[in-house]
Symmetry: C2
C-alpha cells in the first residue's frame, strides 16, 4: 500500500477503506441520534391524536353533549405537537434526503404527512357532526397508523442491534398503545350509546388480543427500566377494573341498555392506562437516546484509534512482510485454508491484518445480534400481508382476517408468523 | 400541504418525501451502474489471478522446469488487471465513502486491497520456489476469495430485485469458477507430481461437489443468454474428458505413479473450461449493465412524471378535499379499516393519494421480489458460518466440515441451509 500510495496518491488503500467502514457506522449512529428525536415527536403526536380521537368519540357518541371544550383544547394541543413533529422532520430532512437511507421510510413519511394534511377537514366534520363516531375513529386511526409506520420503517433501517432492538420495542409499544386507544374509542362509543352490538364486541375482543401480542414483542426487546415500568402497569389494580368492564362490553346483548355513566368511568380508566403506556414510551426513548450517545462515543473512539494505527502503518513497515500478511488475511476466509498461522510474528503485518479482521468480526457479531430484531419486524410484515391477503380472497374484514389467522394457527398448533408465511407462500396457488 | 408550505416554506410536505423516495431509488440505481464496472474488473482480475495461480502451480509442481515464462507474463497481465480494478475503485470511491452504503462492503474492500498488497511478495516466493504448490495455491485462493467476497457484499446492498438477482448469479458463478480454478490447481499438483494422495483426492471431490452447488444457484438467478451459454458449457464434449480424468485422480492410490504428461492435458482442459466460465461472467455483467441502464431510465422517467404531478398539486386543489383523501390514505393500512372507499371521487385528492399508494405498492413488490435473492445470499452466509463453527468445535479442516455438513443433511433428509441454520442455532448449546 505504502509504496503505491506514495507514488499514486489518488488510489485508496486498505487503510482508507477500513476507516471508511468505521466512518460508515459512525454516520449511521449519528443519523439515529437525530431519528430518536423524530421518534419521540411521533410518540407525542400520536398520543395527542389518540386523546383527541377519544374526546371526539365521546363528543359524537353523546350527540355533541359531552366533551365539546375538551375536544377543542385537545385539538389545539395536537396542532402544537404536529408542529413539533414537522420541525423535527425539517431538522433531519438533510440526512433523510441528502443521502437517502430508504425509499420505504421516505415514502412512509410522505404517507404520514399526507394524512396529517387532512386533519383540519376531519375536525370540521367532527364539529359539524357530519361523521359517525366509527368513521371519525377510522380516520384518526389511519392517520395514527401512518405515523407509527414511520417508526417501523426507521427500525427497519437500523444496523446497530442495540438500536434496532429498542426501535422494535418502541414500535410494538406504540402499536399496542394505539390498539389500546382504539379499544378506548370502541368502548366509549358502546358505553356512551348505551349498547354494544356484536360488531363492537368482536372488534373489542380483537383489539384486546392484538394488544397482548404487541406487548409480548415489546417485552422481548425493551430495556430493563422500561420493562419494570411495564410490569408496574400490568400489575396495577386499574387493570382489574378494566377487565371487568371489558367483560361487560362483550357479554351485553345488542338490545340491552347500559348505564351511559359507565362511559366516563371507562374513558377515565383507559385514559390512565394510555397515559401510563406513554410514560413507558418516554422511558424507551430516553434509553434509546442514551444508547445512541454511548455507541456513538465508542465508535468515535475506536475510529480515532484505528486512524492512528493506520497512519502509523502508512509511514512504513506494513509492506515489509506482505506475504505473511497475505497468508493470514485468508485465514478467516472460507476457501478451505482457514486458521493457517505462518508468520503471525510480523508486528506491522499483524496489526493491519488484525484491524481488518477485528472489524470483520465486530460487523459479523452485529449482523448476528441484529437477526432477532429483523425477524420481529419481518414477522409483523408477514402477518399484515397475510391479513390483507385473507381480506382480499375471502372478502372479510381486517378483524375477521386476524381471527381466521389466529384460528389457523391454533388448529395447526403452529406460531402465527409461521402460518402467515405458509399462507403467503400459497398465495399464488390461491389466486 | 399547500397552505402550510406557502406560509412556512422550510417545512417539507408529503410531495417532497414522495419525490425523495423516488430519488432514493434513482441514486441507488446510479450507484449500481458504477458498481457494475467494479464487478467486471473484479471478475477479470480474479480470472487473471486464477491463470497466474495455475501457472505458478505447474511451475512449482515441476520443480521450476515448466511454465517459467508463462507464469511471468501472466503476472504482468494480473498487474494490469489489478491496476484497472484499483482505478475502477477510485472512480466509485466517492459514492462508496461519501454516503457509505455498507460497513461490511467497505471492510471487505479493505480486506481485498490488503490481500493484493501482498501479491508481489508471494510471487517472489514462488519464483525463488520458497513455497510449496499447496501453500502458493492457498495464498492465491484467499486473495481471490477476498475479491469475490466484495461482489457478495455488493449484492447484499442491492435493493432492486432484478439487479440483486443478477449479482447473486454473478457471485455464485464466480465462486463456482474459482472452485473450478482450485480444482485445476489441485489436479495440476497431483498430475504433475505423478500421484494423488488421499488428501488431494478428497480435496478434489469436495471442490467438484461445491462447484455444482454454486452453479445450481447461478442457474436459478441468471438471465436467459447467460443461462444458454452455461448449458453450452455443461453439454460440451470437454466435460466428458474432464470427468474421466477426475475419476483417474480419485481412484489412483497414493503410491502409484501417473504419467506426468497428463498434467498438461488436465491443465489444458480445465483452462478451456475456466475461460468458458469467464465468458459467461462477461455475459452476466453485460446483462447487468443493460438492466441497470433500463431501470435507471425508467426510474428517471417516473420521477419526472411524479415531479410534474406533485407540482400541479402544490399549485392548489389537493387540500380541497383532504378528509376524503385521509379516509382513503388509511385504506391500504392495517388498522382494520382497509378498503373503505368513501370519497374516491375527488380528482386532486385521489391523485396525491394514489401517487403515494402507487409508490408503496411498487416498493412492496420490489421487497417481495428481493426475498429470494436475499435468501440465496443468506443461505450462503449461514453455510459458511456453520462450516467455520464445525471447524472450530471439531478441530477439522474446511473440507471435512463441508463433508460433515453434507452428511448431516443427507442423513436427516433436509436441505443444507436448513441443517446449517439448526447447527448455528445450537451453537451456544454446543459451547
Amino acid at each position: 500500500m505504502n509504496t503505491k500510495r506514495n507514488t499514486v496518491p489518488e488510489i485508496p488503500g486498505a487503510g482508507d477503506y477500513l476507516i471508511a467502514s468505521k466512518t460508515c457506522e459512525l454516520m449511521s449512529l449519528q443519523y439515529f441520534l437525530q431519528m430518536g428525536r423524530l421518534v419521540q415527536c411521533i410518540s407525542s403526536l400520536v398520543h395527542g391524536l389518540q386523546r383527541e380521537r377519544g374526546a371526539s368519540n365521546v363528543f359524537l357518541g353523546s350527540s355533541g353533549k359531552k366533551f365539546q371544550e375538551e375536544r377543542k383544547s385537545l385539538a389545539v394541543e395536537s396542532d402544537r405537537l404536529k408542529r413539533e413533529f414537522e420541525l423535527a422532520l425539517a431538522e433531519i430532512h438533510e440526512e433523510l434526503t441528502g443521502h437517502p437511507v430508504s425509499s420505504r421510510l421516505l415514502n412512509q413519511i410522505a404517507s404520514a404527512l399526507h394524512g396529517l394534511e387532512g386533519l383540519g377537514e376531519l375536525r370540521r366534520c367532527v364539529v359539524a357532526r357530519k361523521v359517525t363516531a366509527e368513521s371519525a375513529t377510522e380516520d384518526y386511526s389511519s392517520l395514527i397508523h401512518n405515523l407509527i409506520a414511520v417508526v417501523f420503517e426507521a427500525a427497519d433501517t437500523a444496523v446497530d442491534p442495540t438500536i434496532a432492538g429498542l426501535l422494535v420495542a418502541m414500535v410494538h409499544l406504540m402499536n399496542g398503545k394505539e390498539l389500546c386507544g382504539q379499544e378506548r374509542a370502541v368502548g366509549s362509543a358502546g358505553f356512551s350509546s348505551g349498547a354494544f352490538d356484536r360488531a363492537l364486541s368482536e372488534r373489542m375482543a380483537h383489539l384486546i388480543e392484538a394488544q397482548e401480542r404487541c406487548f409480548e414483542v415489546f417485552a422481548g426487546f425493551a430495556d430493563a427500566d422500561s420493562l419494570s415500568l411495564w410490569q408496574k402497569v400490568s400489575s396495577h389494580e386499574r387493570e382489574g377494573e378494566i377487565e371487568r368492564m371489558r367483560r361487560l362490553a362483550s357479554s351485553v346483548g345488542r338490545f340491552k341498555d347500559l348505564d351511559p355513566e359507565l362511559a366516563d368511568q371507562w374513558f377515565k380508566l383507559m385514559t390512565e392506562r394510555i397515559d401510563a403506556l406513554k410514560q413507558i414510551e418516554d422511558s424507551v426513548e430516553g434509553c434509546f437516546h442514551t444508547r445512541c450517545i454511548e455507541r456513538f462515543a465508542a465508535a468515535k473512539k475506536s475510529l480515532a484509534h484505528q486512524e492512528t494505527l493506520v497512519a502509523s502503518l502508512d509511514t512504513g513497515g506494513a509492506a515489509s512482510q506482505p506475504l505473511l500478511v497475505l497468508c493470514n488475511s485468508g485465514s478467516e476466509g472460507s476457501t478451505g485454508e482457514a486458521f493457517s498461522s505462518e508468520g503471525m510474528g510480523q508486528q506491522f503485518g499483524r496489526s493491519i491484518f488484525e484491524l481488518v479482521q477485528e472489524q470483520t468480526r465486530s460487523l459479523q457479531k452485529m449482523t448476528d445480534e441484529l437477526q432477532s430484531a429483523k425477524e420481529a419486524l419481518e414477522d409483523r410484515k408477514t402477518q399484515e400481508k397475510a391479513v390483507l391477503l385473507l381480506m382480499k380472497h375471502r372478502k372479510i374484514s381486517n378483524d375477521e382476517a386476524h381471527r381466521l389467522l389466529r384460528k389457523l394457527a391454533m388448529d395447526q398448533g403452529r406460531k402465527l408468523p409461521e402460518v402467515a408465511r405458509s399462507l403467503i407462500s400459497m398465495a399464488d396457488v390461491l389466486k
